[in-house]
């Protein structure tokens, strides 16, 4: 009896193995790090950390005698004052600019159609850029904290009468405040990231960011201001108190919880938009 056999599939019909999700993410990260080369994004992260320190340094160098009482430990006041300037306005502005710059790398190159036609999923592309953004933000904030302490040390040498050498600063509260600030930044970072990916123009996310920052700062006295993610970096300053000793409340504030919620919501929304968006 004859048996019916189906011809074997042609050699090219073998389905190749798809790279795993982590492999895809690793490849995307490797490519995205390479794309940062010669962009202003890295410089912005460095400048974002250094600028508030430089401003504060100048204030203390030229007018320190008006800010520090004789015999008082200058460090708590120095750190608190600097953090207020940096966290309330400069940090949100830095995040707005950084997200816009990162997304512009792909927008300007009309790169989405190329990236999405490669053997990496849209999720990996999306998460990779988000991780780069988070890393650069954290880098800027850690750089800021490190430079702030270093600049205090330099002030001790240049203006010994201010008492920076005699006084001291505990690193624990500074690290804790860094954590609060990072959490407070996440909400607006998530929103700006999604906006920067969605709109090809740099102007729309920039306008959204500046509008958000102005709204947040204007409504700081509103009882529900914690809901506004752009106000969170200013709201967490309440955790900081620096009279004789620098102390930081370790409890996660309502503004930080809202910030986390905004981040989660924005990231999910952004993924959904990217997943179902038709590439240009």
């Amino acid at each position: 009896m004859k048996t019916l056999t189906t011809p074997p599939p042609p050699h090219w019909a073998t389905l190749p193995a798809a790279p795993g999700a982590l492999t895809q993410l690793r490849r995307c990260l490797a490519a995205d790090y390479g794309k940062l080369y010669r962009t202003p994004a890295l410089w912005l992260a460095l400048a974002g950390g250094a600028l508030p320190v430089l401003l504060n340094f100048c204030i203390f160098y030229f007018k320190g005698e008006y800010l520090v009482k004789p015999g008082q430990n200058p460090w708590p006041h120095y750190v608190t004052m600097s953090w207020q300037t940096a966290s309330a306005f400069l940090l949100p502005l830095f995040v707005v600019l950084l997200t816009g710059l990162l997304a512009a790398i792909e927008h300007q190159a009309v790169g989405w159609k190329h990236v999405h036609a490669l053997p990496v999923g849209r999720g990996a592309v999306y998460v990779s850029k988000l991780l780069i953004l988070l890393q650069l933000t954290l880098l800027a904030q850690m750089l800021y904290a490190g430079l702030l302490l270093a600049a205090g040390g330099v002030l001790g040498w240049l203006r010994p009468e201010l008492g920076f050498r005699a006084g001291s600063i505990a690193l624990g509260p500074v690290g804790l405040m860094l954590g609060h600030t990072f959490l407070a930044t996440l909400g607006l970072l998530g929103i700006q990231y999604v906006a920067a990916l969605w709109w090809r123009s740099f102007v729309v996310p920039l306008a959204l960011g500046i509008g958000g920052i102005v709204t947040g700062l204007t409504l700081l006295r509103w009882e529900h201001v914690d809901v506004i993610p752009y106000a969170a970096p200013a709201r967490v300053l309440h955790a900081l108190s620096g009279k004789a000793v620098l102390t930081v409340d370790p409890a996660v504030s309502l503004a930080e919880w809202y910030s986390l919620a905004w981040f989660g919501g924005a990231v999910l929304l952004g993924y959904a938009l990217l997943r179902f968006r038709q590439s240009e």
């Binding site: 090219w12 798809a18 794309k35 300007q108 790169g111 053997p119």
Partner: protein
């Protein structure tokens, strides 16, 4: 053609931008080892089709099969065997040519030596260290091709790849495509609005017009279609006199000049009979020749009518 013999196949592909229909029932059939010329005027739907073939757009209906597998289900796996250049290449101007290739190489997880190889293949070895924003249009196009060739793909999708290339560049590109097919067995889907470009390299042709596939088949089939439209052209002293003297032979002839008649060509015997009859009737024959529409004429005719396959 059996389904399993096709390396790329679309079935009933429809696409709409919002409510505006763009593509209607596109059924491409690309055999392995072919250079498939995808022809159509600007705005006919070529680039949209190419985007659908890469999963960049989702069809309103229909399927895309690459290597016999459904693209929607196995997109990441299948795209590892596909290289593509869609319209203008996506290049990062702040990076050098080599760094651009490196970015894609890392995304694909390929060995480092591929970067050097593809730059050499497209003739950019010496310019790889220059920033892409300083590149000419032709160099950008060649770099885009290098990105497409990077994974040594089994299937190349090239959308208007000769845009911006000078005549030398076009010839080099043509030579490269032919080598890729003949020596490496690659399958290439090449879109263009220029028939003259396609006929020099393609083995198969698909013609799209207003979102509908109006012709698909081998280049030979397209040429055969031309043969069906051959005319016999007679140059003589007086076309009217000839028509009156030989009404049976020249009744269907068109008068295209005082001494020129044009009639449908049927067989070589028809030419011999007509020549004999003209001589017998004492009419001079200054010329008697066959005329075929050029491929370009055929293409224009196909794209002027809208009868879909």
């Amino acid at each position: 053609m059996a389904v399993s013999d096709l390396l790329l196949e679309t079935q009933g592909l429809h696409f709409c931008f919002g409510k505006r229909p763009i593509l209607h029932d596109i059924g491409l059939q690309v055999p392995p080892g072919s250079i498939y010329g995808f022809l159509g005027p600007n705005g006919a739907g070529k680039s949209t089709t190419m985007r659908l073939l890469l999963g960049l757009l989702r069809p309103a209906a229909g399927t895309v099969q690459l290597f016999g597998h459904d693209l929607a289900r196995h997109q990441v796996a299948l795209l590892s065997r596909v290289g593509a250049l869609i319209e203008n290449p996506s290049l990062y101007g702040h990076l050098t040519g080599r760094e651009n290739v490196e970015a894609t190489r890392r995304l694909r997880g390929l060995p480092a030596h591929r970067t050097t190889e593809v730059l050499a293949l497209v003739g950019l070895s010496n310019s790889g260290g220059r920033l892409v924003k300083e590149y000419s249009l032709g160099m950008r196009q060649r770099l885009g091709l290098a990105l497409a060739l990077l994974p040594d793909p089994d299937l190349l999708l090239l959308d208007e790849p000769t845009n911006g290339l000078d005549p030398n560049g076009i010839m080099e590109m043509r030579g490269l495509l032919l080598r890729l097919r003949q020596e490496h067995g690659k399958t290439i889907l090449l879109s263009s609005h220029l028939i003259s470009e396609i006929e020099k390299v393609a083995t198969h042709v698909g013609v799209i017009q207003q979102g509908r596939l109006v012709f698909q088949g081998s280049l030979a089939a397209l040429q055969h279609r031309q043969a069906d439209q051959t005319w016999l052209v007679l140059d003589t002293a007086s076309a009217d006199t000839c028509r009156n003297l030989l009404p049976q032979l020249l009744s269907g002839a068109l008068l295209t000049g005082p001494g020129t008649l044009r009639l449908p060509f049927s067989t070589p015997d028809q030419v011999a009979t007509l020549a004999q009859a003209l001589v017998a009737a004492g009419q001079p024959i200054y010329g008697l020749r066959q005329e075929q529409p050029s491929l370009e004429d055929t293409f224009l005719q196909l794209t002027e009518t809208s009868t879909a396959l």
